[in-house]
């Protein structure tokens, strides 16, 4: 038996291909939306993976450096280093900043890292060009996505930094590229006030009678000096020694240091279930709407094509074609349309994904799920047309 659907598609291929292209672009957008969500999840995982930490030690009652403001003293790491099971511990600060360099104006997440020793948690794990930070000040390693080149000089607050290395896939949970600078510089940048604000603060402090006690000479100078440094970091990243579980190490830190400690799994849960939850819901809503629009388009097209063949369907029924053969013809056409749409959508999404400013991760498993969903949608969308076709009276083929 010949394929009636195949012959019809081959006969009016232009109609099918152009409809398929339209549907395909819609499917491509749907796939891209799913890719945006996957990209956000992947960014979050990469951020955690590339930090090289097993534990995140943060201020009590906070969700950690990525989700909430966390502030702990920068000497806490010393005590943590002495605890059982701790292989390495390093301070880290995070600051989101808008940086301009030449024509570039990019939003980056500035990470302050300990640079005195290589291989500590928080440092960029690998470089694609240049070298790691070796000086204590004014050097930076940037993610390639930021668009900087080796040797570029970028300004963060009042200081200039030379880009000495480039890394890859080091992004914040919101997809901003990371820029690594020495910890002391980052601490300064985080709390740095402008000159007028500093003068104003000094004047206010000097005017406070409590700091101008003649019986305590040098008190005012000491207070002013304490105000000009920042002894805080956002977190201490801890690497656990082999043979210890992260929870084994985390529990004594929580108990003795009175700090909040998150394991890798907990931090991932915070990032995915809390930080990008709203965005994920937003994307899910778009996916549902796009699926409904796709179904409506397929239903409309297949219904229109079927209604346009009422006389032929009546003739087919008159000459003894079974209802199931006619239903199969319509379903096959809907599936054919879905196939064309899927192929075009997949190709389109693959080509335009790299152009998007945010990372789009097109998972093969999503493509498989998408394919199955499209097929189901096409079959469901063809039901209206099948109903119309089955209602056709073979007597319509005979006049009168």
């Amino acid at each position: 038996m010949i394929s009636l659907a195949g012959r019809d598609i081959a006969h009016s291929w232009g109609k099918f291909v152009f409809t398929g292209i339209g549907l395909g672009l819609l499917i491509g957008v749907t796939m891209t939306m799913a890719g945006v969500y996957r990209g956000m999840v992947d960014d979050a995982k990469v951020l955690l993976d590339n930090s090289g930490a097993d534990l995140w030690v943060v201020q009590q009652g906070t969700l950690g450096p990525y989700a909430e403001a966390s502030s702990i003293y920068d000497d806490e790491y010393r005590g943590i280093l002495g605890m059982a099971g701790v292989d390495a511990a390093a301070n880290v600060t995070y600051l989101t900043s808008q940086i301009s360099q030449g024509d570039l104006d990019v939003r980056v997440m500035v990470a302050g890292i300990v640079t005195t020793e290589q291989g500590l948690p928080g440092q960029p794990r690998f470089l694609v060009a240049g070298r790691h930070i070796t000086r204590g000040h004014y050097e930076a390693v940037a993610d390639v996505k930021a668009g900087f080149q080796i040797g570029d000089r970028v300004k963060i607050r009042r200081n200039q930094y030379t880009v000495v290395g480039l890394t890859k896939r080091m992004v914040s949970s919101s997809g901003d590229p990371m820029l690594f600078i020495p910890l002391k510089d980052a601490q300064e940048a985080q709390f740095l006030k402008d000159n007028d604000a500093i003068l104003n603060q000094r004047r206010r402090t000097a005017a406070n009678p409590a700091f101008n006690n003649p019986a305590v000479p040098g008190l005012l100078d000491a207070v002013l000096a304490s105000q000009s440094v920042n002894p805080f970091v956002n977190a201490v990243l801890v690497r656990v020694k082999p043979g210890f579980t992260p929870e084994q190490v985390a529990e004594p830190i929580r108990k003795w240091k009175r700090l909040q400690v998150y394991t890798r799994a907990q931090m991932e849960s915070i990032l995915i279930e809390k930080l990008i939850k709203t965005a994920a819901r937003q994307i899910a809503m778009f996916l549902v709407i796009l699926a409904i629009v796709s179904a409506a388009i397929v239903a409309f097209i297949i219904y229109t094509l079927t209604i346009g063949k009422i006389r032929e369907i009546a003739v087919l029924k008159l000459i003894g074609t079974k209802n199931r053969t006619i239903a199969a013809m319509i379903i096959q056409q809907a599936i054919g349309l879905g196939l064309i749409g899927f192929v075009i959508g997949k190709i389109a999404a693959t080509f335009w994904a790299p152009v998007f400013p945010k990372y789009i991760l097109l998972e093969p498993s999503d493509a498989v799920i998408g394919f199955v969903l499209i097929m189901v949608i096409c079959v469901l969308a063809s039901l209206i047309a099948i109903r119309a076709a089955l209602k056709v009276d073979p007597a319509e083929a005979i006049g009168g």
Partner: protein
């Protein structure tokens, strides 16, 4: 009359009660195998209703119909699968050819055999034989839209004949054709009827083809009157 058509006291009523309309009021007809008869009558006389009853697309109210030696209706349908009956036992030729636009000529003709479960190759071979007999074999691979009106009608006749049905119902088959082509179509129908022993009923208003019928049934107010005329042959 093993392969002909016998219709006895066929009634068809549409609706019930006060709104009931009796379209057929006891039609009687006999068409022998190899015979082509005309069925003429004014609009609303019941021609199409009779054709639809014979074509097993609407159910008569009462009466008896025997097609190809098989009693298909005797106060009720005796056949369960009317689709299969139409496919295997009845050929249809319409005023317009109504060819399937997305199938080429040979597959338009072979489709009925394929639907009946014959292999594609065997169906196409039989279709080709018939197309050759009807002198349209050279257009076998053409699409219906590429054919002239006469060619399309010949293909429609081939489609009706391909399963060698005992009965062919033709509804105004020559209406869109000029005199020469109309007579050519009737000649083909007469030849095919003889060759395959098919009983053919041709519903028509076309005066130019009337002389080609040996017998004509007039239908008026739901009843048939037979008019037999000497010399009514091609």
């Amino acid at each position: 009359m093993a392969r002909g058509i016998i219709i006895e006291d066929l009634h068809k009523q549409y609706g019930v009660g006060d709104t009931a309309v009796e379209a057929l009021k006891g039609v009687n007809m006999q068409v022998g195998p190899g015979e082509v008869v005309g069925l003429v009558g004014p609009s609303g006389s019941g021609k199409s209703t009779l054709l639809k009853c014979l074509g097993a697309v609407i159910e008569p109210t009462s009466g008896r119909m025997i097609l190809g030696g098989e009693t298909i209706y005797d106060q009720k349908w005796n056949i369960k699968d009317l689709g299969a009956l139409r496919r295997d036992s009845i050929g249809f030729v319409f005023q317009a050819p109504y060819l399937i636009p997305f199938l080429d000529v040979i597959d338009n003709v072979a489709l009925i055999l394929m639907l009946a479960g014959h292999s594609n190759d065997a169906s196409r071979k039989r279709a080709m034989d018939l197309l050759e007999a009807l002198d349209v074999a050279h257009r076998a691979k053409a699409m219906p839209s590429q054919l002239s009106g006469g060619e399309q009608q010949r293909v429609a006749i081939a489609r009706a004949l391909v399963s060698h049905p005992p009965v062919i119902l033709a509804d105004e088959p020559t209406a869109p054709l000029d005199s020469e082509r109309a007579l050519a179509v009737m000649k083909i129908l007469n030849e095919m009827a003889k060759e395959y022993e098919t009983a053919i009923i041709v519903v028509t208003h076309d005066e130019k083809i009337m002389p080609t019928f040996k017998r004509i049934y007039h239908i008026r107010d739901g009843k048939t009157i037979e008019e037999a005329g000497e010399g009514r042959a091609i």
